[in-house]
């Protein structure tokens, strides 16, 4: 399947868009994938991401978690898809053609997180503790606020985002 971006490919592909400047040696290890949700940007630690794929057909699962978009087939595996918009109680978007599924490993299961788009790979020069509310979203979903050139980006706390 050529529409699938593996982590390696993904980083290399995006590196061209956003040249990475040398940082402190300590921070060099932590790379983050920046995802888009409407006007907002959030970050996920790259080590938590297995792969990023284009949006594909998702089958709804009735009577399940409110933020569960459904399930999809990734190379023969049934993978649950969680909608970050639904999780953050944002309105549904009409513009779905850029939508991506960020596949993460959560408690030994693959789970896809549906986002509006994947923006770039970045590193943060500093990470601040997260506030109670981060741009209108419950602060417990974040493990910190990363400071990058393009501004402050909330770093998602996967455990909190997926639990419940």
């Amino acid at each position: 399947m050529d529409d699938v971006l593996r982590p390696g490919q993904c980083i290399d592909g995006l590196r061209g868009l956003s040249p990475v400047k040398p940082m402190d040696d300590v921070l060099r290890q932590d790379q983050y994938i920046v995802i888009e949700l409407g006007m907002e940007k959030y970050a996920l630690k790259i080590s938590e991401v297995c792969e990023i794929i284009n949006m594909q057909k998702v089958t709804a699962v009735p009577n399940s978690k409110t933020f569960l978009e459904g399930v999809t087939n990734i190379r023969g595996k049934i993978v649950p898809i969680v909608s970050l918009r639904k999780r953050f109680q944002l309105e549904e978007t009409q513009d779905a053609h850029r939508a991506k599924i960020v596949v993460v490993n959560y408690r030994d299961e693959l789970i896809g997180i549906l986002v509006d788009g994947v923006n770039q790979v970045t590193r943060f020069s500093a990470i601040h503790p997260s506030a109670e509310v981060v741009s209108g979203v419950d602060g417990s979903y974040f493990q910190g606020i990363g400071q990058a050139e393009e501004g402050l980006i909330g770093i998602l706390n996967l455990e909190q985002v997926l639990a419940g």
Binding site: K57, V61, P62, N63, V71, G76
Partner: protein, 650 residues
């Protein structure tokens, strides 16, 4: 062949022989001195001895050698078949199971077989009282007594000695030593041997009264057992491991992954056919398409055969499970003082190995229940004019795409009224509901959590966690359990299971724009009826199909699927069945039936009522598989909500 291969062959042979052994020992117990049975037992012991010697498992060899000796004596009728012999042979069997398990897991044996070996040796010993009179000229009588004792130990086991040589002093004045011996030697020979010893003037040998022998033997045996404490609980006893195939040993994970790969192939093959059809619509005249069609046909056939063969590798005859039952029934009926005859039928019926593994516990539970609560005590049975010996019949057979297992006893049956009283008393159902329930409905109550009719909690069955767990187990396998009973005549449980869990025939239906799959095994019929035929009784939509009123449900409501606008005058109804219950599902479109590969939706999503798993369709999209048992529960639940008493919902 290296040692590992040989080990595999050895273990599967041992497994094989041990199963035979168990069966024959039980035959021996039933039939008594039957030469063919003894002969076959002898052969088994001999085979085991040979192979364990070849592999260098000394303890196993020693044990089987002694068994062989005993069996040889039985064969030559030098010894009678007594319950003691049977019990001892069963004890040997447990030890052999233990040894085998240790070899399998650790490559060496740990279990101490000394005590059993010793018991085997003593089995045909007779007891003798020997009196040895020492000559007057004997100088050191104490030392002499020791010498005699040592000599005697070569031929016999000495149970008691009087006076005790350890307490003797050199000057002690005694002339006579008396021994009690257990030996297989003839008395004449024994006497002869004794007389030949130095300083022995005379020796007398007389049989020792048998009734007091137990008292003497018991402490001796006790002492021996104390010396080897690990022998009290031979490993491999009780919960024996799941049985494994007989000839080829394949890692289960490997089988699973092969099965998954074949599943992938099945899906892709369906896709190829679909693409082929689409191409033909577009380029009908192209000759290459004919080739493609031929290839896909061939491809389909090969994949079909591959799938079938892989399925077969996962199949085991149910004998693997059945062979555990005779021993269990024997032990259990002894503990409970009941006389039970076990009949096993259809043991060659093949089932998916995962099904066999999963169905073991529920079956054992049903059998225990049958012995404990079903079959009456022999006196009671005789009073009722039934044969004193109760019968439990377990059968397995294939019916179409299903395996049907039954567990039937000719015991007391289940009293529906008692069931009702218990259920009401335990507040499992409200009393007013209970009065309107039919007998069949009442019987279903035994499957509720927390139900148990036996007023005393026995060790064998029943802490009120029984039948609901049995049912859960079976439903987990997409199976059904049903009960029929006649008071005073017996109870019959029928379990229906799919042949395999991995692939099933599914009916694809569409609700709005989502496709769902229903297991074909629970679809009773499909009808198309005019909308105006749908009636409503007390708010419940129903339809009459061939004079039977079937309640209708719209899954759209349960699954929160927005209803689409339809101008159709007709609707499709899929009637699904669970035991004798029927439910009509209103569907928007029927897509067809096909083999579907069952996949789990994973633990993140968890259990969803009415959904048992998911499958991947030809176009690569995912369809949920509906679970009919769950749908019935959903329907009940919604009915309860609508009628306003949510508490009554099960």
């Amino acid at each position: 062949m290296d040692r590992r291969d040989m080990m595999g062959v050895f273990l599967s042979e041992v497994e094989n022989q041990l199963q035979l052994l168990e069966r024959e020992i039980l035959n021996l117990e039933r039939q008594g001195e039957s030469p063919p049975v003894i002969q076959s037992l002898f052969r088994i012991a001999h085979t085991l001895k040979g192979s364990s010697a070849a592999m260098g498992f000394e303890d196993m060899k020693r044990l089987t050698h002694e068994m062989e000796n005993v069996l040889d004596k039985l064969r030559k009728q030098q010894m009678p078949v007594t319950p003691q012999v049977v019990n001892l042979l069963l004890q040997c069997l447990d030890h052999l199971h233990g040894l085998k398990k240790e070899i399998e897991q650790e490559g060496a044996t740990r279990t101490n077989v000394d005590a059993v070996v010793c018991q085997l040796r003593q089995l045909d010993n007779r007891l003798w009282r020997c009196k040895v009179r020492l000559s007057d000229r004997c100088e050191m009588k104490g030392a002499r007594a020791h010498v005699i004792l040592n000599r005697l130990k070569n031929w016999a086991s000495v149970l008691s000695i009087e006076p005790d040589p350890d307490s003797l002093t050199e000057e002690a004045a005694f002339q006579e030593i008396s021994f009690i011996l257990a030996t297989s030697l003839e008395p004449g020979t024994l006497q002869q041997q004794l007389r030949e010893l130095t300083d022995v003037e005379d020796a007398e040998v007389a049989p020792f009264a048998n009734d007091s022998a137990d008292d003497l033997a018991a402490p001796a045996a006790e002492a021996e057992r104390d010396a080897t404490p690990e022998n009290r609980n031979p490993p491999g006893n009780g919960k024996e491991g799941k049985k494994i195939g007989q000839t080829v040993r394949v890692d289960v994970d490997l089988l699973e992954s092969i099965m998954n790969l074949v599943g992938e192939l099945v899906i892709d093959q369906t896709r190829i056919v679909q693409v082929g059809n689409r191409l033909r619509d577009r380029y009908a005249a192209d000759e290459t398409l004919e080739d493609l069609e031929q290839i896909t046909n061939r491809f389909s056939r090969i994949i079909g055969e591959l799938q079938e063969s892989v399925m077969k590798t996962r199949m085991l005859p149910i004998e693997h499970l059945f062979s555990r039952f005779p021993r269990m029934v024997r032990d259990l009926s002894r503990t409970l003082n009941k006389d039970v005859h076990l009949v096993l039928e259809g043991k060659e019926t093949e089932l998916d190995r995962t099904v066999i593994e999963e169905i073991g516990d529920p079956l054992i539970h049903l059998i225990r229940n049958a012995i404990d609560h079903g079959i009456e005590a022999p006196e009671v049975r005789q009073r009722l004019g039934k044969p004193a010996r109760g019968t439990i019949r377990i059968t397995a057979s294939h019916q179409e795409n299903q395996v049907v297992l039954t567990v039937e006893d000719d015991g007391a049956g289940i009293d529906a009224q008692k069931v009702k009283e218990t259920a009401v008393a335990r507040q499992l159902i409200p009393a007013q509901n209970a009065d309107t329930m039919s007998e069949a409905e009442l019987l279903q109550l035994i499957f509720l959590p927390g139900f148990s009719t036996a007023s005393t909690v026995s060790e064998i069955s029943g802490r009120g966690v029984g039948m609901d767990i049995v049912r859960n187990h079976i439903e987990k396998l997409n199976g059904l359990i049903d009960v029929e009973t006649r008071l005073g005549q017996g109870t019959k449980f029928t379990i229906k299971l799919p042949l395999t869990l991995a692939i099933l025939r599914g009916l694809l239906i569409r609700l709005r724009d989502t496709i769902y799959a229903l297991p074909m095994s629970s679809v009773v019929e499909i009808v198309r009826i005019p909308k105006k035929d749908i009636r409503s009784i007390k708010g419940q939509a129903v339809v009459k199909i061939r004079d039977k009123v079937v309640p209708l449900i719209r899954l759209h409501d349960y699954f929160r699927i927005p209803a689409g606008k339809t101008n159709a005058r007709h609707v499709f109804i899929v009637v699904v069945g669970l035991a004798e219950k029927r439910l009509g599902l209103v569907v928007d479109e029927l897509i067809g039936n096909q083999e579907i590969v069952v996949k789990s939706i994973g633990s993140y999503i968890g259990k969803i009522e009415g959904v048992s798993g998911a499958t991947i369709l030809g176009d690569g999209s995912v369809a949920l598989i509906l679970d009919v048992t769950g749908l019935f529960r959903l329907a009940d639940h919604f009915k309860a909500i609508e009628s306003g008493n949510l508490d009554d919902a099960v």
